[in-house]
């Protein structure tokens, strides 16, 4: 049996949390390292899951509930792995924890934010609004603790936040700290980021206000989003009565992401339902290459097909233009079944941007990467594993199943070494 019976999980999204609770609940110690100031990752930013259309907070809350009392899980937010040394059963890992400037005394009372004079671009809402420089990442943040964005809180800003806190929770002199961990195996659950729209040369380069990405659409539809859940278009706050969904915006494209991101078809159908649920007369058109709704997801597709106001058109959008006066967006396609080039104008266009794996951007990655930046699954280095989207572009359900299996692999590796 290995000297170190603990597992390092890199990434505290739905996959990382799942690996952590599964391993810890069978008696192994887990270090869960997350770069953001909160756990939950991309799932926390979703409005609803497909196909059940339930809010992701349910699933997240269960995981938080399992993590909180478990003394075998030690989680670290605002932290990144910077170095990995050693081998299976005996890794030495260096973790850098960046200052949060708010300590455990925080009760989440919001007084610091109220007093904070400065604002910052809100990354949680993909830059569609601003928050105070002293902020709670999102309403259900775990840990329920504020953060101060020091880059946006210069001058007297920090003191103003500190003065407003009755609990002595603001620590403006916090410094970055380095921790050394001894672990037996490592699981990368580093997830993904949305593909950068600026790289999509023929789809507006991210420069058109009413051409948004699918992740932005999740925030627009979310009660905790910039519009409190009302789907309004960014340029003028108009209610959207016609929305185009552009599939494979970056995915399945060797000039961008050569892989199929696998979730975008379902995500766009789901978002078409968001629009249809909010506005009775709204129309949605999904432009696709192939609609990939495998297995029981086919029923979800059938539901969209049955809706007269949802049109599914085979033909990839390859030109987008925005009317400077009205803000309306015109897309050009070849309708493949009709064999005709066609232009259509919408209030707003949602690009189904794909999932770009984050693993390559994680410092000190010890994992072997495959083409496209995903971790090699089989034949990975001994003692190193990956779970969820770090390994392949998959949906939440598959990520969780994969993570449960990966927890077992990580444990086996410790037991064998």
């Amino acid at each position: 049996m290995a000297e170190n019976k603990s597992v390092l999980v890199v990434g505290g999204g739905i996959s990382g949390m799942t690996v952590a609770v599964e391993a810890a609940e069978v008696g192994y110690k887990v270090h869960l390292v997350e770069r953001n100031p909160f756990l939950g990752g991309r799932v926390a930013q979703l409005n609803k899951y497909f196909p059940k259309m339930c809010p992701p907070y349910c699933g997240l809350e269960i995981n938080f509930r399992r993590i909180r009392p478990n003394t075998d899980i030690s989680w670290m937010t605002t932290s990144e792995v910077v170095k990995v040394e050693g081998g299976p059963g005996n890794f030495t890992v260096t973790v850098k924890t960046n200052p949060r400037y708010v300590n455990e005394n925080c009760t989440g009372c919001n007084k610091c934010a109220e007093a904070c004079p400065n604002e910052r671009v809100n990354g949680f809402n993909y830059g569609m609004d601003k928050s105070k420089a002293a902020y709670l990442p999102h309403p259900m943040s775990f840990p329920m603790r504020y953060v101060i964005d020091k880059s946006a809180c210069g001058g007297d800003c920090g003191q103003a936040c500190k003065a407003a806190c009755k609990y002595d929770a603001v620590e403006l002199d916090q410094q970055a700290a380095t921790t050394e961990l001894k672990v037996g195996s490592i699981v990368y659950a580093t997830g993904w980021k949305p593909y950068d729209m600026a790289k999509l040369e023929i789809l507006g380069k991210g420069e058109m206000k009413n051409v948004i990405s699918n992740v932005m659409m999740e925030r627009l539809a979310s009660a905790s989003g910039p519009t409190a859940g009302k789907i309004l278009r960014p340029s003028d706050g108009k209610e959207v009565k016609s929305v185009a969904f552009v599939q494979c915006a970056g995915s399945r494209d060797e000039n961008h992401l050569s892989h199929c991101s696998s979730i975008c078809c379902m995500a766009s159908l789901k978002q078409a339902f968001y629009v249809r649920e909010q506005y009775e007369d709204a129309k949605a058109e999904v432009f696709y290459i192939d609609l990939r709704t495998p297995g029981r997801y086919e029923k979800f597709l059938n539901r969209a097909q049955a809706d007269e106001n949802i049109t599914l058109t085979k033909g990839k959008v390859a030109a987008v233009s925005e009317n400077a006066e009205t803000g309306d967006v015109t897309v050009t396609i070849e309708d493949v079944f009709a064999g005709v080039k066609r232009q259509a104008t919408f209030d707003m266009v949602v690009l189904a941007t794909g999932m770009e794996p984050e693993l390559a951007s994680v410092g000190g990655t010890a994992a072997t990467l495959a083409e496209g930046g995903f971790a090699v699954g089989d034949l990975q280095k001994p003692g190193i594993f990956s779970a969820g989207v770090a390994k392949a572009p998959v949906d939440v359900m598959t990520s969780i199943q994969d993570s449960t299996g990966t927890a077992l692999k990580a444990i086996q590796s410790i037991v064998r070494s």
Binding site: I202, R252, I289, A318, A319, G339, V340, K341, R342
Partner: protein
Amino acid sequence: MSDIMVEPDLNFIKGLTASGADTVKKCYQCATCSVVCNIAPEGGPFPRKEMVWAQWGLKDKLAADPDVWLCHNCGDCTKHCPRGAKPAEVLGALRKATIEKYAMIKPLAGIASSFAGSFVVAAIVIIGLLAAIGHLNVLANYHEVGEDGHVNIIFNNFLNTHYVDAVFMPLFMLAVLTAGYGVMKFWNDICDGAGLGKYTGRNALPSILPTLLQIMQHNVFSACGVNKDRKIPHLLALVSFILLFITTNWAVVYLYVLGWEPGSYSSLHNPLKWVGNIGAIMLLAGAFLLIRNRKAKEATQSSSAFDWNLLYLILLIGVTGFLAQVIRMAGIVPGAQVMYVLHLIFIAQLFIFAPYSKLAHLFYRTTAMVFAKHTGRDLKVA
């Protein structure tokens, strides 16, 4: 959509793959290409439909498809293709297949892909004829030394211009006739393919002049994205062909209408020589720039031997023609004669293979553009 019976011709697909369309099977029919193409018409745009037809091996449908020729190889489809299926290159290979299909003398079409092969055929024709008329001794002295000591080389003395004409006029007529045969078959097939039936040829006559004017404007080339800078070089090459054609006919007038002596107009004082030389310079510049453009884009847009053969042939015609004149004027006796014969062989190569080499695009693309105008499917131009 009506049902169609798909009868794939596997050999056709293999042939395409061998002639530069090895990427055709990568296409997954997303239709990005049809949208990013700046010149494809709204109704039935290309090249997406051609890609699937090519994958299915629908040889006859593709041969009867004018859109294969409406494509001007801008390369925008290849640039934006998410699969690296290179539609521009595939359509280039399809054009080659069409040329081969409508070839009247099939063996020549087979040789056209090989520069060396076509050169040998042309050389055999020219040298054989020279031998037949007893002029094979290239190094014999057919020059005169003038009173001022200047060496005057008169090609007519070495190789009588009437013999040259007796060879090239039939070669030219053969090219025109065999190309005409291909064009007529092509025209019938595209009319059939569009469900227009016979006799549409006469109705299309009014579309010919506007098409020729459009070709001279070269405005389709301006609409290209990636290959925009090809417009001037291609126009140079085209205009040079026209100028050199005029020059040739002008000489015919001197020789056979006005009854001038061969060679009597070969001094630079004759305006015929001015036009000829301007044409030659444009030909050289056009060929050089076209080759340079293709070389520069080699990493992203592949060119086949079919493409290179024509460009290098034009360049060689220009170079040998120009050198023959310079060496003749400088009085370098053996060099001038060798260069002159080489020049004649390259021209013969151009003529003999005109309906089978890439030069055939002159006939087929023009025909397709006339058809497009006739049927109201004009290309979108800048």
